[in-house]
Structures are given as structure tokens and as C-alpha cells.
């Protein structure tokens, strides 16, 4: 999740009578929530999806896309509400989720970025304090250089770094985020020391691109979609992407880090988790709903529209994946000296 420049998007939201009249239709299908049915069936009341960040960011759009698809395609009979709890890179939201222990109606969107934030915040709550439901989307990280760069391949970059770490300036999203982590992972895989890395953090995709094009940054690292138009226009050259599986970027099949001989499979994923302490039965039922959501055309359209890759894992598979990611990020933070 990348917050647009300068703090997170303005906290906002419109009101007003006019809105009321323009979007009255929306009001019609919004049934009243509440009701104290037994917790046997899911959902028996309004489903709350928490976004542990301000409105307008990546997690927020994921949650709102889910809400829209669930309501449009009548996946569940009860209404779905999205609300935001900002703070601590997600730590505040995660703590708040704790008070709904055992309630399958309390869901939260999360992702790789939050692991790092919890690590940095030395947060008392962790991913163990959730019930993972499913991973949903992922995005590969791209390594790019300006088109007039001396680096022709990712091996060139690694070679230059090995020779003199200070000679290569990397740049991407905020320090300690997934963009810096993937560089650390690459240097580690190449046998170099990641703690020597020169990394310039930018608070938004636009600023990072400007930094790369102006020549401040030698090698740019960020989500593939951030750079796609520059690559297409020929302003930037794509050196490699971070996932094991390749994908088409600007009409050409991208080289993966594994193709280049570095054993890395790294993606910036987002997932849905529930409050801790869910019964197996409840977990099963929530998973069924998410399964149904995942199968709809509406969700496929939403993925396509937002440029998200489908990255669907549920049950033990999701649990194991998230656990391994937690370990990986912890190790990388150690290496980076953060």
C-alpha cells in the first residue's frame, strides 16, 4: 500500500443533501443492520471489514472493492460495512481487532507492508493475534533504470553493488517498506551485505518516478504498475521483476530475478484476516463466503480494473504463507539494521 504524497490521503468524505439525492439508489439496497441472531450462521449481522489505514489507500480500495462485489452479487444477505482505523502502519487497527475475539463478522484487510510496520513499532500484537482467512492479491516488484542507464541487466547492478555499495543509489517507496525489503533480499541472495545499501525513500509513486527520471536514483524499485507507463514510453528499462512467475509488462515478458539466477520469490500481497479465536466452524464459513466472492465475475473485473494479480490461498496454505512471510521480513529487518 502506498499512500499518496504528503501524509495519507486527506481524510475526507463527502456529505450532503445533493449526494443523498444523486446516490439514493445506493440507499435502497442497504438494509438495516443489527439484530442479535445466534452466531451459528455466518453472517448473522452486518459484516465489518476494517481497513487499518486511512481511506483512499491500497488496503482501502481492496476492502471497498470487496464490499461492492459482495453487495452487487448478493454473496451474503447481510450488509457489509467498511471502516478505517488509521495509525501505526496498521498496528492500531490490529489492536482494535483484538476486542472482537471470536466474532467472525470482524474482518480486516492487511498485507506484507503491515508485517514490517509491526516490526518497526515493536508492536505487542502480531499476526498471531488474527485468524488468517485468505490471501487475495499480489503485485510483483519491478527493478527499473532510466533508459540511458549504464546498467543493462540486474546482474550489472549486483556487480556494481558488490564492487562498491555506495556507487548504486536505490530508490522507491518509504524506507523499511516492501520496496527496500526486496532490494535487501536480492543483495542477500547475491551474497552481498544489505546493510550497506544506499536507499532513497519517496512518499508517493509519482515522486519516486521523478527521482529516477531526474537521475537522483540509479535503480528504481516499486510495484510493477507504478512504472508500466514509463517502461512503455521508453523512458525506463525494466531489469527484472521479483516474483518467481513471469508476467507481461508493457507488452513484453519480464525477466524474473530467478531467471537471473537469484533465488527469490517476493511479492507485495494483501490478505483478509478475521479477529483472533475463531472456531474452526466459523472460519470455515467465512472462508466459504470469500470463496464465493473470489469466484464471481465482479471480483475478476475488480482485479483487472485495479491491476491486481490474483493471489488466492486459503486455509492452512494461507496460514503457512503468512507465517513464512513474517519470518522472512523479520530476518530482512535484522539484515538492514532497522
Amino acid at each position: 500500500m502506498r499512500a499518496p504524497r504528503r501524509s495519507v490521503v486527506r481524510r475526507t468524505v463527502a456529505v450532503a443533501a445533493v449526494l443523498g439525492t444523486t446516490l439514493t439508489l445506493a440507499a435502497c439496497n442497504q438494509a438495516a443492520g443489527g439484530g442479535a441472531a445466534s452466531s451459528e450462521e455466518f453472517p448473522s449481522k452486518t459484516v465489518d471489514i476494517m481497513v487499518p489505514a486511512a481511506a483512499g489507500g491500497g488496503w482501502d480500495s481492496t476492502a471497498r472493492a470487496m464490499q461492492k462485489v459482495i453487495e452487487d452479487e448478493d454473496v451474503v444477505s447481510e450488509p457489509v460495512e467498511v471502516f478505517n482505523v488509521e495509525g501505526g502502519g496498521g498496528a492500531t487497527g490490529l489492536s482494535q481487532l483484538q476486542k472482537d475475539e471470536g466474532d467472525p463478522h470482524a474482518l480486516m484487510v492487511t498485507g506484507l507492508v503491515m508485517i514490517g510496520a509491526l516490526e518497526q513499532a515493536s508492536s505487542p500484537v502480531s499476526f498471531e493475534d488474527t485468524t488468517p482467512i485468505a490471501t487475495l492479491t499480489s503485485e510483483a516488484e519491478a527493478f527499473v533504470v532510466p533508459s540511458d542507464s549504464q546498467y543493462e541487466s540486474i546482474e550489472d547492478v549486483v556487480a556494481a553493488y558488490e564492487k562498491d555499495p555506495a556507487s548504486v543509489t536505490f530508490g522507491g517507496g518509504s524506507a523499511g517498506g516492501s520496496d527496500q525489503l526486496v532490494v535487501a533480499e536480492l543483495m542477500k541472495a547475491a551474497g552481498a551485505d544489505p546493510s550497506q545499501m544506499k536507499y532513497v525513500g519517496y512518499s508517493g509513486g509519482g515522486e519516486a518516478i521523478a527521482g529516477i527520471l531526474s537521475g537522483d536514483v540509479a535503480v528504481g524499485v516499486s510495484g510493477v504498475s507504478e512504472f508500466e507507463s514509463q517502461i512503455e514510453a521508453g523512458d525506463m528499462r525494466l531489469l527484472a521483476i521479483s516474483t518467481a512467475e513471469t508476467q507481461e509488462v508493457a507488452g513484453e515478458e519480464a525477466t524474473t530475478l530467478q531467471d537471473a539466477g537469484y533465488d527469490i520469490d517476493f511479492s507485495n500481497w494483501r490478505a483478509l484476516v478475521a479477529a483472533p479465536g475463531l472456531s474452526d466452524d466459523a472460519k470455515e464459513q467465512v472462508t466459504e463466503v470469500v470463496d464465493e466472492l473470489h469466484g464471481t465475475q465482479g471480483w475478476k473485473d475488480a482485479l483487472e480494473a485495479n491491476g491486481w494479480a490474483d493471489f488466492y490461498k486459503t486455509g492452512d496454505e494461507a496460514q503457512e504463507y503468512i507465517d513464512s512471510e513474517v519470518d522472512r521480513v523479520a530476518a530482512l529487518y535484522e539484515d538492514l539494521g532497522l
Binding site: V8, T12, A16, A55, G56, A175, G176, E207, I209, N306
Partner: protein, 516 residues
């Protein structure tokens, strides 16, 4: 001039009843969003994004979004002027003189010069967008961290007019803002700073909390303490004598210069990837305060101080569209959300956009013109209605402001902590008013400080810690020299006088006539 033909094609697309309807929805929503404190355009657009999934063509979506943004800019000035509660940082400069005008019964003229100025600036800057987008966009991305640092320094030394009557109090205000900007995770190293190890503060103090606190809440407390919430405190509106569109002949004469200069400040800052809409408003304010014909009226409601900043904040939006459309670079929160909208329709902003989807681009540009005409048509008659706000009984009005201020924070961040932080800042804002510390420098510090620091450290990081990077790049050096000149120039008459052995007091008056 092929652009002209393309633009006419764009107008042909936009001037259909359906498109005009979307424009109306957009500008109306935007105006409302702008009027409410803390409620800005970026998240409104983000929330409306899912609505566009169902659209066949992206054009109506963009027409609506552009309307929301401009509408918010028009609406943002309204509360600044009438109530001294700007809803976003780009309206802070407007509040300084605008509210003084309202207090003296010139609310209508202030609202009118803001609306017309926004319109004029939008026309100028959209015209520039249509004509020079491509080369200007290219130029803007050649700015490096050292250049930005130099530019921020230049901005800092030229906005001294904000500091007000006391250097000490003004600087304390400024540094307070810079300090608030430090709070949170450091953007460069990722380390928490001044957070007292509380993760609550890791995201820092959002500028919106700061604005809502210092203005909406601080102003309410101040007004209450001064006893101005009691009945019988409403300043009667001055009757409009002659003139045209609420402005007298003299006010027209005094406004057009600031409008054009404001547009001149706003557009280039919008174009720069790290420019923003706030700095040009402060620069415009300072320029008018020091240079304009009405400078002796500053502090008492000078119309130039409203006309300039309002023009600047509107012009910056067309500027922001330059890197967005030509390079796919989102350089503001609103632009980032608009980029997401482009992607929903499978469009890649960038150099090819002008070639492959030129219909769309020209329709968008045409819609900016149309949206602004609508906003002017909407806002001028609305002035009659807005000034009625001043007749709302004060306790009801200010209780309502507090409700909306709290809502603006809660609905988006959802935490009680953020609300409490804003209230705390509100108490600070009250104390600053009470002891005559200017508020605007705090906002400027909180915006400029982090930007300045980030660019400074990025530049050093890139240059391996060598401090000479700032003077070895010609562009940076030139801007820094300009800053030095701007700093020293006001003293030139004094220095010359001293050299000639005259009384320095005499000469100084020439430079600081505004400090009376």
C-alpha cells in the same frame, strides 16, 4: 495550431446534456466537500471510484472528478473567509485577509474575488496545460533533490511576510510547525522520531488534524473566550455600491493583478513533482503584501490577499495535470486517485496518451473549462446564500463547526486518538491566538519542513554526504543565489543609506512600510 482544433473537438464531446449533468454533480459535490472542514477532494474521489466501475467511457468520470477538485477549491475559500476555518491547507493563506474582510462587512466582495479569481486562474492555467504540457512536463522531471532543496529555501525566505509583526513570535510559530512535521516515522531512515515510543504517533500528525485543530477548533475556543458567541455580534454587511458581480470598480482594479500573478505562482508549482498547492498560495500572499498597491491595508482585509492565493491554488491543479497526463506522474493525493481512475479504464497516462487517446485528453481539458464556467455560475449567486451563514446564531454555528470538524477526522481515520490530538492542537491554536502568535506559519512549517528535510537528506544521500552538491549543480546554485538576493534585497536601501551615512531608520521605513 492543431491544439485549437483538438480542443474544439473536446468541447463537442463535453457539451452534451449527459456530460453536463456529470459536471454539475461534480462541481456541486466538490463545493460541498470544500465547504466542510477537513473534508477534501482526494478521498471523495477515492470513495466514488467504485461507482465508475459501471461506466462505459472514462470521460464522464473524469468530468465529475475534475469538477469535484475545482469545486473543493472554490468551496474551500468560503469557510476560510466567512469563519476563519479553512478546510484544507491550500485555503489557509486566503483566511488571513479574507476573514478580516468579512469581519469588516466585505464578505461578499471577498467571496466574489475568490470565485472570479479562481475562474480566471483556472482559465489561464488550463490554457497553459493545453499549449505547453509536453515540454513543461519534461522540464519538471529534470529537477533533482538538490534543486528542490534550493527551491524550498527560496520559498522559505520569500514568505517572511507571513511571520507578521513580531519576528520572535512568527519564528516560534514556524518552528512549532516544523517540529510537528518531524513527528512520526522518518521518511528517509524509517526510524520513529519524537513519538515517545507510541505507535499511535508513527504515522505522524496528519496536516488535516493540524488544520482542523488550529483553525476550526482553535478559532471556536477563541471566539468563545472573547465573548463573541453571545448574541448581537454580527457585523452588518456593507451595501454593495455600484460595481459588477459584487465587486466595486476599485476592487476589480485591485483584483486582476493578483489573479494573474497568483496563476503565475500556482501553475509552475503544480507542475513540479514536489511542488504542491500550498506553497504558491503563501508565495502569492507574500508577494501581494510586499508589492501590491493595497499593501498598507494588509492585516485589515486587503482584497489582494484573497485574490492572489485563491488564484494560485486553482492554477496549481491544472499544473498537477501536466505531469499526470504527459508522464503518468501523480504528484498530489488527488492526482494519485485520478491515476487509479485511469487504470480502471485501462488507460496509461504518459506520452502515448496524447497520441492514442487524444479524444479523451482534449475532452478532459475541455471539461476543465466547462467545469469552471459552471462553478462561477454556481458560486456567484451562492454568495447571497453563503453570507446568510453569518446570520446563523453563533452558538448554533460554532457547535455545527465542531460537529463537522470531529466528523471530518472520525469518518476517515476512525480513531478516538486522532480526535483527541486534534482537540489538543485546538487548545494550542487558541493559546496562539490569545498570545498573538500567527497561525499560518505553523501550517507552512508543517508542510515545508518535512519536504525541505527530505530533499536535503536525499540530496546528501545521493551525493554520499558531500555538502558541496548544493552548489556544484548550476540550477541549484542559481536558485540559491536567487534566495540570497531575495533575503538581502529588502535591506538594500538600508545598507545603501548606511553607506552614505544617512539615518538608517528613515530608509528602513521604505522596506517595512507594511509593518505598521
Amino acid at each position: 495550431m492543431s491544439q485549437f482544433g483538438d480542443l474544439m473537438g473536446g468541447f463537442a464531446t463535453v457539451l452534451s446534456p449527459e456530460m453536463l449533468l456529470f459536471a454539475v454533480i461534480g462541481v456541486t459535490l466538490g463545493t460541498l466537500v470544500g465547504v466542510l472542514p477537513g473534508i477534501g477532494p482526494a478521498v471523495t474521489i477515492a470513495l466514488l471510484l467504485p461507482v465508475t466501475y459501471g461506466f462505459e467511457s472514462p470521460i464522464p468520470a473524469f468530468i465529475m472528478f475534475a469538477g469535484i477538485y475545482y469545486g473543493a477549491m472554490y468551496g474551500g475559500s468560503t469557510t476560510s473567509i466567512l469563519l476563519n476555518t479553512p478546510g484544507e491547507s491550500a485555503s489557509v493563506a486566503t483566511a488571513i485577509e479574507g476573514h478580516e474582510m468579512a469581519k469588516r462587512g466585505h464578505a461578499r466582495a471577498a467571496l466574489a474575488t475568490a470565485a472570479i479569481g479562481s475562474f480566471v486562474a483556472a482559465l489561464i492555467s488550463t490554457g497553459l496545460l493545453a499549449l505547453v504540457a509536453e515540454p513543461v512536463g519534461r522540464l519538471a522531471v529534470s529537477f533533482r533533490a538538490t534543486d528542490y532543496f534550493a527551491l524550498m529555501i527560496l520559498a522559505l525566505v520569500t514568505v517572511t511576510a507571513l511571520v507578521g509583526s513580531s519576528l520572535v513570535r512568527g519564528l516560534i510559530s514556524l518552528l512549532l510547525g516544523v517540529t510537528i512535521g518531524f513527528i512520526g516515522l522518518d521518511g528517509i531512515s524509517g526510524q520513529p522520531r519524537l513519538t515517545f515510543d507510541s505507535p499511535v504517533l508513527f504515522n505522524g500528525i496528519d496536516e488535516v488534524l493540524l488544520i482542523i485543530g488550529l483553525f476550526a477548533i482553535g478559532e471556536t475556543l477563541y471566539v468563545l473566550v472573547k465573548g463573541r458567541t453571545r448574541p448581537g455580534q454580527v457585523t452588518p454587511l456593507e451595501p454593495v455600491r455600484g460595481g459588477f458581480m459584487w465587486l466595486s470598480r476599485d476592487q476589480w482594479r485591485r483584483s486582476w493583478g493578483p489573479w494573474i500573478r497568483g496563476a503565475g505562482f500556482g501553475f509552475p508549482f503544480g507542475v513540479l513533482p514536489s511542488g504542491g498547492a500550498e506553497l504558491p498560495t503563501f508565495l502569492s500572499y507574500s508577494w501581494e503584501k510586499n508589492r501590491s498597491r493595497g499593501k498598507q491595508e494588509f492585516g485589515k482585509g486587503a482584497i489582494e490577499g484573497v485574490a492572489g492565493p485563491e488564484a494560485a491554488n486553482n492554477a496549481s491543479f491544472s499544473g498537477v495535470l501536466v505531469p499526470l497526463l504527459t508522464l503518468g506522474l501523480p504528484t498530489s493525493a488527488t492526482a494519485a486517485v485520478m491515476l487509479a481512475a485511469f487504470k480502471i479504464f485501462n488507460l496509461q497516462p504518459g506520452p502515448q496518451l496524447f497520441e492514442e487517446n487524444s479524444d479523451l485528453v482534449w475532452a478532459l481539458i475541455a471539461s476543465l473549462f466547462v467545469g469552471n464556467v459552471m462553478l462561477l455560475a454556481l458560486n456567484l449567486p451562492l454568495i447571497r446564500l453563503w453570507v446568510k451563514v453569518l446570520e446563523i446564531p453563533r452558538p448554533v454555528l460554532y457547535a455545527g463547526i465542531l460537529v463537522f470538524a470531529t466528523l471530518g477526522i472520525y469518518s476517515v481515520s476512525g480513531t478516538v486518538t486522532d480526535i483527541l490530538i486534534a482537540y489538543g492542537i485546538g487548545v494550542l491554536g487558541f493559546l496562539m491566538r490569545q498570545f498573538d502568535f500567527p497561525i499560518a506559519p505553523t501550517i507552512l512549517g508543517a508542510i515545508l519542513g518535512p519536504e525541505l528535510e527530505n530533499q536535503f537528506r536525499r540530496a546528501l544521500n545521493v551525493g554520499n554526504g558531500d555538502l558541496t552538491v548544493f552548489v556544484t549543480r548550476p540550477l541549484s546554485l542559481a536558485i540559491l543565489l536567487l534566495a540570497a538576493a531575495a533575503l538581502l534585497l529588502p535591506y538594500a536601501p538600508r545598507i545603501v543609506a548606511r553607506l552614505r551615512g544617512k539615518d538608517p531608520e528613515e530608509a528602513k521605513k521604505l522596506a517595512f512600510a507594511d509593518e505598521d
